[in-house]
Symmetry: C2
Subunit: 147 residues, 2 copies
């Protein structure tokens, strides 16, 4: 079994998409994460769902639970408003990191190791710089457990 | 909106459950992760789905993509067999880390910051050491976006 056997079409968002629309897509389609594509259609980055939250959580709350606790309920409820009026490009983290991207020939073990290492339940599959689909954690487990 | 407004019942696995059954539960119920409870019923650990994979991926493959690549397809397909005959307790990682556990009074911002920091799309909610449910990333996004 290879990545090509497990991949499926996956919606993408563009760097110039509104960030709030990206968050809505994640919620409405119950996605494990987002694939952000650049102008060339190739994956620019892949964001696990938890890291989409990170785009909206104020920096001072991210690493200090005590600071998150002092924000009152009304302001806490509105935390996603931080995305309003901003594009995906504008809210993406600066730091480069290993992307959960592989090729169609990757084995399930390679895909599993990549998911574990990058904490991403979503791996983009790229063939000759072209996005051909994605392997989700669920698709991988279903494939392996059915085998 | 507080954790108590977003939580729902969530299946748990026990430390002495067969590890392969835990992986099947994750797959079959399409869960974002697993809550492992100790003998007292309190959460012992929470494993995001990607970290359940980590339990089965050989150590030498986890950090070196090149080593995962040399494992042939037949052996790669069988990687979950590493869980056969072992309990959850036996395969859990040794390293302690921050658990995605909160209390019913946590705001959505606190829960979001916790999910982002721990890379966990699943947060266990504990009241007086008793597990009262879990908040998933999807439930959080649905609650915040509907508000």
């Amino acid at each position: 079994m290879r990545a090509r056997d497990l991949l499926a079409d996956f919606p993408t968002v563009r760097l110039d998409s509104p960030a709030i629309d990206a968050a809505r897509l994640l919620a409405e389609q119950d996605l494990p994460g987002l694939i952000v594509v650049g102008d060339d259609g190739a994956p620019f980055t892949i964001l696990p769902g938890t890291q989409v939250l990170r785009l909206a959580v104020p920096g001072y709350c991210q690493d200090d639970p005590a600071l998150a606790r002092v924000v009152d309920e009304a302001h806490a409820d509105a935390f996603l408003r931080a995305l309003d009026g901003r594009t995906v490009r504008e809210v993406l983290p600066r730091q480069p990191r290993e992307l959960p991207v592989t090729d169609p020939e990757a084995t399930v073990l390679e895909v599993a190791a990549l998911m574990a290492r990058t904490h991403s339940p979503l791996v983009a599959v790229v063939d000759d710089r072209r996005l051909v689909g994605a392997v989700t954690l669920q698709a991988l487990l279903d494939g392996v457990l059915a085998g």
